[in-house]
């Protein structure tokens, strides 16, 4: 199968599985969501105490392990790292801040669009604008530097972390929090959620599916290859939503959404910008972490921290909208990431070579 078909089929699989997971019990329009589920995991670990969003979602470890397993088989697993890990942690942190102000990662944005939630339209434009803004720096020479090959053991850390999360979800010890009401209490059965996560992880690893990459490649290269995965997700989810009567067009009364359009736009602007700087959306960071990319692992840990702080500091939005804390955090996030972008641009200092130097060579 050629790459084009792989990416379209992966998109269709992701979109279809997402709707199926909502039918099996996941929150509405949230069959799969990188940001929401990482936030639920942060809550389950007790890193934040928002009681309605705590659950060890098996989908996220599924993404990481699906990518890990298939990359081991295909020989694409390679432990690597050293490309500005702390900076990636900070960028991941603010990607999560932006996503929780909109209430969804780029993937959930597409799923919300496919369910008729028009609040995701300004978010889509914000996401695209954020990527465009990020590309401005990339074109001027922004880079977080090279990563380097590492001993393989380093690459096993994030898959092991994912495995431990699954074990904790099954054993459910008393120090792990599980929501009794709210979105965190809405769950597809453990094995179904894990299977879906593994399939998405494998499909996304093979296809390099990336929400951010889809839009980036259109701006940068006029290439619609990755965007076709985006379209696949949208069409599959739309078809199933229509078939199961889950499609409801409009702004009002959309599940786990708010209608503060400016903040939907700016929240996803921050996500798009941060994802462009990282080189991939939250889903893609999970996939890369599974392939042995320890820098993506750091971005993922940054997202977990960002989710925890978002709830602890009252930054995360709710169905009632966003408060002043969210607004300050998003604006600060955009400013801070702009500073990171500028400070990582390679400035070329013009040096003139003098053949017969008149400067003394010896003291």
């Amino acid at each position: 199968m050629d790459q084009k078909k792989i990416v379209i089929f992966s998109g269709i699989a992701v979109g279809a599985l997402a709707v199926l997971l909502t039918l099996l019990g996941n929150p509405p329009n949230m069959g799969i969501c990188g940001a929401c589920f990482i936030r639920d995991i942060a809550g389950a670990l007790g890193l934040h105490r928002a009681e309605i969003v705590q659950y060890l979602r098996p989908e996220i470890p599924g993404f990481i392990l699906g990518s890990f397993i298939i990359s081991l088989f295909s020989g694409e697993f390679r432990a690597r790292g050293g490309s500005a890990p702390l900076t990636r942690f900070v960028i991941g942190f603010f990607v999560m801040v932006g996503a929780l102000v909109f209430l969804g990662c780029p993937l959930r944005m597409v799923l919300r669009l496919a369910a008729g939630d028009l609040n995701a339209v300004p978010a889509f434009f914000g996401f695209a604008a954020g990527i465009y803004y990020g590309l401005f720096f990339i074109k001027k020479g922004y880079s977080l530097g090279r990563s380097y090959k590492m001993p393989q053991g380093n690459g096993y850390i994030m898959p092991a972390f994912a495995f431990v999360l699954l074990v904790l979800a099954v054993l459910a010890p008393s120090f792990i929090f599980f929501s009794e009401k709210g979105p965190g209490s809405m769950r597809a059965p453990f094995l179904a959620a894990l299977a879906a996560g593994l399939i998405v992880g494998m499909a996304a690893q093979r296809s390099r599916l990336c929400m951010q990459g889809g839009i980036r490649d259109i701006f940068l290269l006029r290439d619609f290859h990755l965007f076709s995965g985006f379209i696949g997700i949208f069409l599959a989810a739309l078809t199933l939503n229509l078939a199961f009567g889950k499609f409801q067009l409009g702004f009002a009364n959309q599940p786990i959404a708010h209608s503060m359009h400016l903040w939907n736009f700016l929240g996803m602007f921050l996500v798009g910008f941060g994802s462009a700087l990282l080189g991939g959306c939250p889903l893609r960071q999970c996939i890369l972490a599974g392939e042995g990319d320890t820098d993506a692992g750091m971005a993922l840990l940054g997202m977990i921290a960002g989710a925890a702080f978002s709830h602890n500091f009252g930054i995360a939005a709710s169905a009632n909208g966003v408060g002043i804390n969210s607004q300050v955090a998003v604006v600060l996030g955009i400013i801070l990431l702009s500073f990171i972008a500028v400070s990582n641009m390679a400035f070329e200092i013009p040096v003139r070579k003098e053949r017969n130097s008149s400067y003394a060579k010896e003291a």
Binding site: Q3, E76, R78, R80, G82, S83, I138, K139, S143, L144, G145, R146, S147, Y148, K149, R208, C210, G213, R216, D217, L220, L221, D223, H225, L278, G279, G280, D295
Partner: protein, 70 residues
């Protein structure tokens, strides 16, 4: 003339940007790009193919050499 680029270790989309810049600057030269991950390899392959170049990929240990010619 042969031009060589080492794009190993860079995150997307920097390897393909380096390739694009080199091809825009001197489209008639032979270009060899060294990458260390399959995503960058596929991105560069697709970009160069779509832009009408001949592309050949050689596996070199854990790296890939992408040969691009007019």
């Amino acid at each position: 003339m042969l031009k060589k680029l080492d794009a190993r270790g860079f995150s997307c989309p920097i390897p393909v940007m380096m390739t694009k810049k080199a091809l825009d600057e001197s489209p008639d030269e032979h270009l060899e790009v060294l990458v260390d991950n399959p995503t960058a390899r596929d991105n560069i392959f697709r970009y160069a193919k779509n832009s009408g170049f001949k592309v050949e990929i050689i596996e070199a240990g854990e790296d890939f050499i992408i040969k691009i010619t007019r």
